[in-house]
């Protein structure tokens, strides 16, 4: 680990990609994440990297697809409306099994919505914003440091699964400055892509050409292709679930499930309640796809636990996953707010007390 430096989330995300060995960035400006591009336009030339400002998020999605298909490590950053436009390309990239990293610094929606922090794109990120049967592997950081670590982890994971990986942050993660340390041990070399990437036969020393595509007109072939994709998503569920328990050792009556910025507010509320003698536990999903089904179920069915509350900066999206994994074993409630008015710890304490 290097020295601690104070960095804005957006800039730290850009730097983390470079430290992870990704030297190709294509993007289109949108609040609240334009600082990534403003940072990388200076930084990429220093490391011999590629920076392209595309004409739209639609085009950027396909620049990412083309570059990834040719074998390069590549990423982009955007915010909600921009990610909607990229979702077409993300579907193609998942279908063509190319690795790529997308960062969504979520702002409020729907439509133009607002520019303040939100978690309204949970469904889009975890259930597929584009068409067809596909999933991204989605990680949700709760601090600038964690955003850095997740970005660095995203590239090898994208290559392991030949699948798009998304970092799901929010306006606060992007705009906030916190101390960060860049871990050296997460720097990885890109994997060998000679078996599939369109890197030119000559440069990979092959007489076989490679084809990057998502078209399967034969129904049997397309079904087989989808089964192959499903096998990858199942493998992610088995191998890539990440979560953090908080205050789950004691006899808590309420279990909170919360991710990203919202989970930090919940953590403070849990600390305050503890001072009042009220025990509340929390599971914070770090991956929202794959979702930590078993850890949440195990924590919720503890005898002391009477109810589960999913607390989100949206109108109730993750709560559906919480209900799904609890299968009715505990009552599941939801609390949330939109528009960028992030609930305070005091509000969360009230919500919890109402359920006691």
């Amino acid at each position: 680990m290097g020295k601690k430096i104070l960095m804005k989330g957006n800039e730290a995300i850009g730097e983390a990609a470079i430290r992870a060995g990704c030297l190709n960035y294509f993007a289109y400006p949108i609040t609240p994440q334009s600082e990534v591009a403003e940072y990388l336009v200076k930084r990429m030339p220093e490391v011999g990297g590629v920076f392209v400002q595309g004409e739209s998020e639609v085009a950027v999605g396909y620049m990412i697809f083309g570059a990834s298909g040719a074998g390069a490590r590549v990423f982009t950053t955007s915010s909600s409306p921009g990610v909607s436009l990229m979702s077409e390309a993300i579907s193609y990239i998942a279908g063509a099994q190319c690795p790529a990293v997308f960062v969504n610094i979520i702002r409020g929606g729907p439509g133009l919505g607002g520019i303040l922090p939100s978690q309204g794109d949970y469904f889009q990120a975890t259930k597929g914003g584009g068409h067809g049967d596909y999933h991204m592997l989605v990680m949700a950081p709760a601090s600038v440091q964690e955003a850095v670590e997740m970005v660095m982890l995203a590239f090898p994971l994208a290559e392991k699964y030949r699948n798009p990986v998304m970092i799901l942050g929010d306006g606060l993660i992007g705009q906030m400055m916190e101390p960060v340390e860049f871990p050296d041990d997460l720097r990885t070399e890109p994997t060998n892509k000679d078996s599939w990437a369109t890197s030119g036969m000559k440069s990979r020393g092959s007489t076989e050409r490679n084809l990057v595509k998502s078209l399967y007109l034969d129904p049997t072939q397309l079904n087989d292709h989808n089964l192959n994709l499903k096998a990858k998503y199942d493998q992610m569920k088995a191998e890539e679930v990440r979560y953090e328990p908080y205050n789950t050792d004691g006899d808590y009556k309420i279990l909170i499930v919360s991710f990203g910025t919202m989970s930090r507010v919940c953590r403070t509320a849990i600390d305050f309640l503890k001072e009042e003698g009220i025990e509340v536990g929390m599971i914070r999903p770090q991956t929202v796809f794959p979702f930590p089904d078993a850890p949440i179920r195990d924590a919720a069915v503890k005898e002391s636990c009477k109810a589960v509350i999913s607390i989100e900066m949206n109108m109730g999206q993750m709560v559906e996953d919480v209900e799904r994994c609890l299968k009715g074993q505990r009552p599941v409630h939801w609390y949330g707010k939109c528009g960028g008015d992030v609930p305070t710890p005091e509000e969360i304490m009230e919500v919890i007390k109402e359920r006691l």
Binding site: F26, V50, V52, M63, A67, E88, M201
Partner: protein
């Protein structure tokens, strides 16, 4: 016996799915010949469109990527930016390039992306069954202009070569045709030139090829060649609209 006529190495032995009389096969061949003659096959990446040529990757033997509808220029940008040593070309039809992909082609051209776009203009959507394209002629009947294209309602056909040649950055913009041997020879020359300019690391190169669609025009192959010559060529004049040599001369 010595072979005097053979398939270019850059073309596969697969039978194409194109309709009888379709000129895609000719254009594929011209592109493949240019690639062969310049010795580029093992360092070329092609990008297939959505449209009749969606399966073009089955007929070429170089690396290929398949794009979403209209997005080939963005994909070519991605490939060429991360691998400037590769030769990259897109192969797009009129719906793909001049309608849904208008934004991508203009901006790639304007940024001077160093790939070659082959634009097949046959004035109709082929794959989806003969709907009106941005290049459909006034009065031309299609399934979505059954009484003939009404220009008061849909505007005039878009001349892509002229439109793109208003941009400063592209290095080579040409329009040729594949309607008779005399045109085909010129089309071949233009396509080869475009690849050569790309090899010289010059900015964006573009060859529009006026083509036919007997099936969706409801004509025999011969009639369609005659109709194209009589109707399309006066509106879509052939020639070079922009060359590096001309630019240099103008600058001097």
């Amino acid at each position: 016996m010595a072979k005097t006529f053979k398939k270019p190495e850059a073309l596969s032995d697969a039978h194409t799915h194109y309709c009888p009389g379709c000129t895609h096969g000719v254009i594929h061949r011209l592109v493949a010949e240019a690639i062969d003659e310049l010795g580029l096959r093992d360092m070329t990446v092609g990008i297939a469109p959505v449209g009749c040529a969606v399966l073009a990757y089955n007929y070429f033997t170089c690396d290929f990527q398949e794009a979403a509808h209209g997005r080939a220029p963005a994909m070519a940008t991605g490939i060429k930016r991360v691998r400037p040593d590769l030769i990259v070309f897109t192969y797009q039809g009129d719906g793909d390039l001049a309608s849904i992909g208008m934004g991508e082609i203009i901006h790639a051209a304007n940024r001077g992306e160093k790939f070659t776009a082959i634009f097949v203009n046959n004035a109709v959507y082929g794959m989806t069954g003969g709907q009106m394209a941005p290049t459909t002629m006034p009065g031309q009947r299609t399934t979505t202009s059954p009484a003939g294209r009404d220009i008061l309602d849909t505007g005039m056909p878009i001349r892509m070569a002229e439109l793109l040649s208003t941009l400063k950055t592209p290095s080579y913009i040409a329009r040729q045709a594949v309607l008779r041997p005399k045109y085909i020879t010129k089309a071949k020359k233009a396509i080869k030139k475009a690849f050569q300019y790309q090899m010289e690391n010059r900015c964006f190169t573009f060859v529009e090829v006026v083509s036919t669609c007997p099936t969706n025009w409801g004509m025999s192959p011969l009639e369609s060649l005659e109709w194209a010559e009589k109707t399309l060529l006066p509106y879509y004049p052939l020639g070079e609209f922009k060359t590096p040599e001309q630019e240099e001369q103008d600058a001097a």
